[in-house]
Symmetry: C2
Subunit: 170 residues, 2 copies
């Protein structure tokens, strides 16, 4: 069982976008280049994040992606669910019913205890993921990471950001 590599990419991109000032954007192609990822494929994930309301997209020559809400209100669970889908990792196939001896459906109204136990454990995972906020990850990075790495990240943002376009009237 493993998470898709898209999750790692999505989190890194979201963390990068958290460094933007209000309204500014970074194009998807720049994000792909920053992590040496396939642009076409990364866009798929960025679109998933946008569809989930985590990112906003701005079309046009000055467009790109930005966070749709404050980093304090974006958790790793939000990102994982946007990329991987909402389904739980454990999916009960109800194989308890597959034996040669067939019982009526009424014998299976209570949920399978194995499913209950597995989902209970998975709930703990989701709770922990929901507690990991994007804002905390960015703050820890700026505080603890190597200064050269922090400087490089800031330089990337400064180089590729597109400032907020003025609100164009009619």
């Amino acid at each position: 069982m493993k998470l898709s590599e898209g999750v790692e990419a999505a989190i890194h991109c979201a963390a990068t976008l958290a460094g933007l000032e209000d309204g500014a954007t970074i194009p998807g192609s720049a994000l792909a280049a920053q992590f040496s990822l396939s642009p076409s494929y990364l866009l798929k994930h960025l679109q998933a994040l946008a569809g989930a309301g985590i990112l906003e997209s701005v079309p046009g020559p000055a467009g790109g992606y930005r966070l749709a809400r404050a980093a304090e209100r974006i958790s790793l669970l939000d990102i994982v669910m946007a990329v991987e889908g909402p389904q739980p990792a454990f999916r009960c196939g109800e194989i308890r019913r597959n034996g040669p001896v067939k019982l009526p459906d009424a014998a299976y109204v209570k949920p399978c205890g194995i499913k209950v136990a597995m989902l209970r454990a998975e709930k703990a995972w989701r709770t922990a993921l929901a507690a990991e906020k994007l804002s905390a990850i960015v703050a820890d990075f700026r505080k603890d990471a190597d200064p050269r790495s922090v400087a490089a990240a800031c330089a990337f943002v400064a180089q590729h950001r597109r400032p907020q376009k003025p609100v164009s009237g009619t």
Copy 2:
């Protein structure tokens, strides 16, 4: 992201084997039939469980599988790790290093904060899985499940168990 179906099968088989008296076994082919699973493929998972020390196998016409230790000391984490492998679900590809600006390795001695956060959340999942004991699942099943279902499970064990062979001296 999803767990393989083998996990569900492995847990059901282990729970079934927990109903055996000391030393008795059930052949893998009977377990496969009980859950309408591919015998050849289920055996792969049973072998993985045996290799991990969760099950014991007994060859020969009176052979089969049984728990290698008490159900109280078998957790869902043990089974999941035996079937899925020990690797974490989140695997850090160190894509933080992949940008066009290359920094020396010394700039990356501190672990990636995203990896740390993801593994911290995953740890909560493993802890919760480790707390789910096979003995509790079996006890809950006998106490709460539909009596017809419990009776069917007991009948299956009674029909297919192979009693412990007497210790044969030289």
